[in-house]
Structures are given as C-alpha cells and as structure tokens.
Subunit: 500 residues, 2 copies
C-alpha cells in the first residue's frame, strides 16, 4: 500500500557570501566552491594513496593537454559531431591508453547478440555450410546440411559459392560487413537508425543461432571484454533456441547452459575473470501472454540455474514499443519472485508513455534502470532512486549512435556525475558501432562528459560502482572487490612505470 | 567575507511504496506520483479560475493532437532536426496561434542589434544615401552625403546604383538578405556558426548606426515585439555612437536618449506597453581598462537616466572570450553600484573557464544569468540561485541555432521546468534567425521542451516570472502585474470565443 513520506534529496552544502567581498576573500570563496563541487561529485570522497596520487598527476596532465587541444582546435576531435567522426582517433589518445589498461569492474548493460564487431562476424561467415538469402533488401543467414526450406524471394545459396563467384572478394566482404554495423557518416533520425539497428540485429542473430558458431562467438566476446579489462558482465539475452546443422532445435534452457559452460571454460583459461549473469529479456512489442511466458521462463532459470540468473527486462525501441504499464498485472505477479532491471526513459520525449516507463520501473522496484536518459526531467524519481540506491546504467556512445543526443557533452551523465548519483557505465551494443567493449565509453565519459576536473577518483569510483550495483550476492561482491583491488594496484604501479 | 552555511535545496516530497502493492493501489500511487511531478513543476501551484480552466481544456486537447502527431510522424515536424527545418511550419499550429495571442509579459534577454529580421532590414537598404563596400568577402554599409573615406578593397558604391545595374533585382535583394540572416539547412559547428553570426552582426550594425535609420529600426522593433504580445523589454546594448549623413558622430549618451524618446513616443501610440530598460554591454574580448570605461559609462547612465538603467553585462562567444574572472578587480569595484546580468555557461564544456563563468556570475551577485546552459552540471550553483531567487534567462532557439543543442528536447530548460527553478524565457536575437519576437520560443518550449502534461499554468507562470525577475522596481512591477492581469483576462475570454 502506498504511503507518502517526506524526504530530503540533494540537500547540498552551499556557499553563501555576504554582500561585501574583497578580492582575496573572493578567491578563497571561489576556490572553496570549486572544491565543494569536486567533493560532491562522483568519486569526490575517495581517498587516493600515494601511488594513486602519482598516477593521478600523470593522468591529469595528459587530460589537460588533450582537453585544451579539443577546446582550441575542434576540427581535429569534435564532441559536437557524430561519434563515428572521432571514433578511430580515440586510440591515439594517451589518456585513452591508460583507461584501456585500467580494470573497469563489470559491464552491467550488454546485449548478447551485439557484443562483437563486423570484422569478427565476417570471419564467422567463412564457416562451412552457411547458406544465405541475399538480395538488395534481404540478408539472411542459415547454417544447414541441405538447402534451407524457409521462404526466400531468390534462392538460398551457399555464401562461399557467392563469394567465390564474385569478381572482387574484398568488395564482397565489405558489403557483408555493412550488414553487421551501424557505421555511417552523418547522424540520422532516431527512427531511421533504429530501423537499421533492427536489420543489423536480425542479420547477426541469423548468423549466431547456430550452436557451434554461437560457442565461438560467445567465447570470443568474453575474451574481447576481458582484454578490455572488463572483469564481469551482466548479459541481457532473449535466450532463443539454438540449432544444429541437421536442423535440430535445442530447448531454450540449452542456451543458459551454453553460457554457463563456456564461461566456466573461459575462467579456466583466465582465472581472474569473475563471470557473467543473465538478465532474461523479452521484446516490448509482445502481448501480455508472451510476457507471462517469458516471466515463467525466467522463473525456471532462477530455479534451475540460480547462480546464472540476475533478473528480467524488456527490450526494443522504447518509443515504438508498449510501455511497462501495459504489462502491469504480469509484472506485479512476478515482482516478489525476481529482480527487474528495466530499460526506462530511453527517449527524448517528456511526459509520453515511453518517458513514464521510468515511473513504472521505479514503482516496480527495478534494481537498476537501463539508460534512464530522460531521468533528469523527473527530480522526484531521481530522489527516490537516490534514496533507494537504484543505479542508472549509462551508455553514452549508444545514446549518441542511436540519436538521442548528438553532442556527448549534452549527455545527462554530466549531471549524474556532478550529483554523485548512483551510476554505472556500460556500452549496450559495442560491436555494432565498432567501439571497444568498455574503454571507448569510459574515455568519452571521462574526457567528453565529465568535468575537466574529474580525475582518477571518478574513474575508480565508476569501476567500484559497477561492483556495488551488480546482481552479485554479497560473497561474490566481496570476492570481486578483492580481485579488483589486486588488479587496480597492479594497474597503478604499471602505469607509473610506463608513464615515467 | 565568505561565510559557509548549510542549506537545503530540492528537498522534494517523494513517494515511497511498501514492498507489496496490489494493482489498484499501484495505480493510485502512480497517479499520485504523476500529480506530484506536476505540482512541483513550474506553474504547478497556480490556481486557474473557471474561464482559465475552460481555455486550458481547449489548449490541452490541441496540444495532445499535435504532440501525438509529432510523436508518430516525425517526418513532418521533428524536434531532433534543425530549427530551420520546422520553423516555417510553426505558424500552422493551433497551439501556436493561441500562444501568439497570449500576453507574454517581458522579454528580458534581447540584444539591440538583432531584434528584426532580414525582410525589414532589406527595406532599410532602400533608404537614400546608402553606400556599400561589397565583394565576395566583404559587405559593409554606410550612409553618407559623399563617398565614404574608410578602407574598402573595391570602391564604395551607392547600393541603389548596384541594385539598378543588376539584371535581376530579386536575386540581388536575396543576396543582400543573406547577409542579415543565419538561415541554413544543416546545423553547423559552434565555431563556424559564431563566425557567421559575427559577420551578420557587423553587417546589420553597419546599417543601423545611422541615426534616422536606427530610429525607424527601433520603433519597428518595439512594434513587432508589441504585436507579438511582449509588453516590456530589457535590451542589452553596447550603446555605440550613432552618426548623421554629414559624418557627425553623436555622443554615446545620445543613444540612451534615443531609446528613451522613441519608447516614449511608442507608449503614446500604444499606451499599454510597459517600456524598456537597458543592460549596458561590453564585448568579452576587451581588456580590463576597456571594461572599466564601460562600467564608468554604465555609472553615468545610472546617474543621469536612472529610469532607463537595468545593469551591466559582457557579450560575445563565451568559449572564445575572456572569462569574468579576468575582470574581477573592475567588477568587484562596481558590484555595489549597479546590478549585473551576466551571461554565463553558454557552452557545452564542463569545467572550462567559460563554464565557470557561472561561478563568478553567482559570486558577483548577478541578478539573473543569461543562458546558463551549463547550469545543470553545477548543482551547488543551482542551489545558490534557487535560494537567492536568481533566474536563468533561457533562449531555446538561440541555443539550437548557435549549436549548443541539436534536439530541443535535450535542452536543460526541461529540468528547470520540472524543478520549478527560477526561469524566464527570452529569444536573444530573434531577427537573425527569423523567429517571431517571443512566440516561437514559447511554442517550442511548451510543445518541444516541457512535459506533455505542462499546461496553461506553465505558460502563465512563465509570463509572470518575466515580471517578477525583471529589473523593474516594485511600483513598476505592481503596475505591470495590473496591466498584465487585464490583458490576460481579455486573452482568456477571447480565446474561449475563438475556439468554441
């Protein structure tokens, strides 16, 4: 039952000055105010040890040089332009190189199908028995012993045959890769880019529902994330049926086991990788019966493989899908049985049903909120989340590529950082826009979104937040903190050596 | 001397719910939360009388239709695109027509040179004795009895002669108009658009420094604003010297008197126009001695024509100019003698000197802050402004055209409205982007930036805020409230009749 209580949010220290100030006092007051902003910001209360202080000095000198260059010479690296105009320059940044090597904790908002980039996916199309239904408008893939029986406006052909028959294999492969990426020169409409996004999603899905390919794909995903110093992943997955070459369809629970087994194998190869958990998803275009079935499946996973289960979520373009409120009876039934990690407010609109998903995500007790892009327009919800320590999962590059924001400096993450609002950084679908698993998002957030004054404490706190707000239980978290601590100390020592 | 006090900001009512809710309670809680958001938002506490309620119902029905159309069919009217792509469609909106007729109170952030559009400025080029220095790169204008002596890479020629000699007067005039507008199909870099902005500014300035033309220009400006139902204007002006046909230069105080006399004449013609006040400006590229001189001039105006004087400000692209902190000694000297209305935070950057102008604007006791675009990144400053009732002057279209924000739905005004932060709407330089004096900014703010639920109360509160936060003294404000009240009642009655 609803009870209304009065609470206090954002009751900040603030500095008032009397009417007459002399210059000396002015400068003192001004410095106090700047210091206060830093202390109240995310990471501002962390104490750095001597080695961390040394690295911080190095880091901030490098950051200062880079920001000043971007400020004075926006033609080289310009945050007001599309991510794709500066993406390939990021790897030249010295700050980026440090961030790349930095242990980043976990990535908590990742969709299973879009973890890897077009180059690797192209490699997978070299596997045997891959048929394609390929026209100007259609691009479907299916592994099969025999010619697939599904409808195709032309005829199903082995991709290898088409490739061999082409005059120019490089051009052929480049065209294939186009189906696996959202890369484009100019930012598009939100609806146009989502149309392309859905096409790319289905193209990739049609490639990786084949069991042996999915095993390679998933192992490689873990490896790329691990190499990017991501130590743990919460993966949103619809857990669709995998198939074998002879057409056998596996039960959906098979996919859960596959995730579990491959993660186990990966941890044997890389013992300091913490692991993964699954957030079971269903498309928000579904009807309530389909949602109920999905919730039942989630219940089953929780029952049978509890260590793999994080919770439940709905996915797909929010503005075009049904709002959470449409599924209330089903969601309220499940509320006490599992954790929710709802997408909410991934929209520019204010006061539409999509934006008000934020309200239902909070009222339904969502443990975190995915994107929450519209959140700053809802101070009452922010207050509730702040009080209940519900984190927002921010994916800056995703929001730029999917056309919510053009200039990343306008991203509401800046506000969350300034307020020390509970926030974790993730990357949503890094493969599909050719981003590094998490380092690009960290770099752009650190240099493009956060204050010029944000330093190593901000980066460390973001990594620590990803542990704190994860779906891990308290023992698992304790272990994660310990592993992180070792990795962090190594990183700090190593960077001081590399940068001296 | 600086004293630190603790204070409370944004201590909002918030709703917490117990763990178990049934559907009925859920819906009640949800509705309460939505209601709470509305009550806490700007205008949410205004009580409407019966007639206002009637108009509000009409308004909200029309708004609902329009927003649903924009939501479902973004190809017709798309806030994610440049203002210029939908500008000319605004006048077809039924909501706009109501807003156009609505008394809007005052426009408190207006630059004197850029109040009128290219069509009217073109008319002014038909005045006699107008010489031009006109090449592909240069476009200067000067009224003179004889050929101007200033440097020109070609020769000074009467514009009328060039026009008469052209094969196609329409094309010639269209080319002239190009020099008076920022109109363009695609949004540009902030630096590129500011370069064009400065060119347009100098072209227009060279046209209107001629005393008889300035008189016409200013009277026409008042008329256009008045016809847009703006009842009062605070004009930022550098108060440059006007000249006569024989080359005589007037003292700068002459311009103040000209403003005063023409406003007086205008009020004789339109007695319910409240008037104007001046905010004396100086370019932020100046050195501190020039700032001191400008402050002295401001002191002189305050002394000699106090009824015309509002305060002092610095102007020009913030990212390229000097920050306020560079002029501290001069500004602290003047602090007790006059009111400041500083521009601050008209930038995408966070933590750069330009962004930190916000800190100095607040510490220097600025009565309002111009733009304050970066303000949401500074919660401590927001708290101070909230407590001290310092309003932010928001110019949404300006920020879009001058490339701070692409999609107006991302404008921080949405946050200010949600928080009931002290805010006034203005239009900065409406002439130069061909906007109506204030109605376009109100329409876009109401339909594009504010919540779908924002209603007549939001509009009325924004108008009332423009009186409350003006530089008028308490008697003048009381009179303004009375005049506004009469105009508002007429407007409400009239709209009910028109829309029934």
């Amino acid at each position: 039952m609803g009870t209304i209580t009065r609470n206090v949010f954002m009751c900040l220290l603030l500095t008032t000055i009397s009417a007459r100030v002399i210059l000396e006092d002015y400068e003192k007051t001004r410095n106090n105010l700047l210091e206060e902003e830093t202390v109240h910001a995310l990471g501002g209360k962390l104490k750095l040890d001597d080695e961390e202080e040394t690295l911080n000095k190095i880091l901030m000198q490098l950051k200062e040089v880079e920001i000043n260059e971007y400020f004075k010479n926006p033609h080289r690296f310009n945050f007001s332009k599309h991510y794709f105009t500066y993406r390939d320059e990021i790897s030249n940044s010295k700050v980026y190189k440090i961030i790349k090597r930095m242990p980043k904790g976990g990535a908590l908002h990742i969709h299973s199908t879009l973890m890897l980039g077009a180059d690797y996916l192209l490699n997978l199309t070299y596997e045997d028995h891959l048929y394609t239904c390929y026209t100007d408008d259609v691009f479907e893939l299916q592994f099969s012993e025999v010619i697939p029986q599904r409808y195709c406006p032309v005829k199903w052909t082995l991709l290898s045959e088409l490739r061999n028959a082409s005059d120019d294999v490089k051009a052929f492969d480049a065209a294939i890769k186009q189906h696996f990426t959202l890369y484009t020169k100019e930012q598009e409409d939100i609806d146009s880019v989502w149309k392309r996004f859905n096409k790319v999603y289905y193209a990739i899905k049609s490639l990786i529902l084949y069991r042996p390919v999915r095993e390679k794909f998933f192992y490689e995903s873990l490896k790329r994330f691990y190499n990017d110093n991501v130590m743990y992943i919460e993966i949103r997955s619809g857990l669709h049926s995998l198939y074998e070459l002879d057409g056998t369809q596996h039960e959906r629970m098979y996919m859960v086991k596959l995730y579990q087994n491959i993660t186990k194998k990966f941890r044997e190869d890389y013992p300091d990788f913490i692991g993964i958990k699954l957030i079971v998803t269903k498309h928000r275009g579904s009807d309530i019966d389909q949602i109920r079935q999905a919730l039942d499946f989630a219940r089953q996973i929780k029952r049978e493989v509890p260590e793999m289960f994080a919770g439940f979520d709905l996915v797909g373009q929010e503005d075009k899908g049904k709002p959470l409120v449409d599924f209330l009876p089903a969601l309220l039934e499940a509320k006490e049985e599992m954790n929710f990690y709802f997408h909410g407010g991934e929209t520019n609109w204010f006061g539409m049903a999509t934006d008000e998903n934020l309200i239902d995500a909070v009222l339904l007790g969502s443990k975190r909120i995915g994107h929450g892009y519209a959140l700053t327009k809802h101070p009452t919800l922010m207050a509730t989340m702040y009080k209940n320590d519900i984190a927002v999962e921010v994916n800056v590059i995703s929001n730029a590529v999917l056309s919510l924001v053009r200039d990343v400096r306008n991203h509401p993450l800046a506000v969350y950082l300034a307020l020390d609002f509970p926030v974790v950084l993730s990357s949503d679908d890094p493969g599909v826009w050719g981003a590094e698993p998490l380092s690009h998002d960290f770099y752009i957030s650190f240099v493009g979104v956060a204050s010029r004054h944000a330093d190593l404490r901000t980066l460390k706190q973001l990594a620590l937040n990803s542990i704190k707000y994860s779906a891990l239980d308290s023992n698992e978290k304790e272990n994660f903190y310990n592993v992180f601590d070792i990795r962090w100390r190594e990183f700090v020592k190593n960077e001081i050596t590399l940068n001296s």
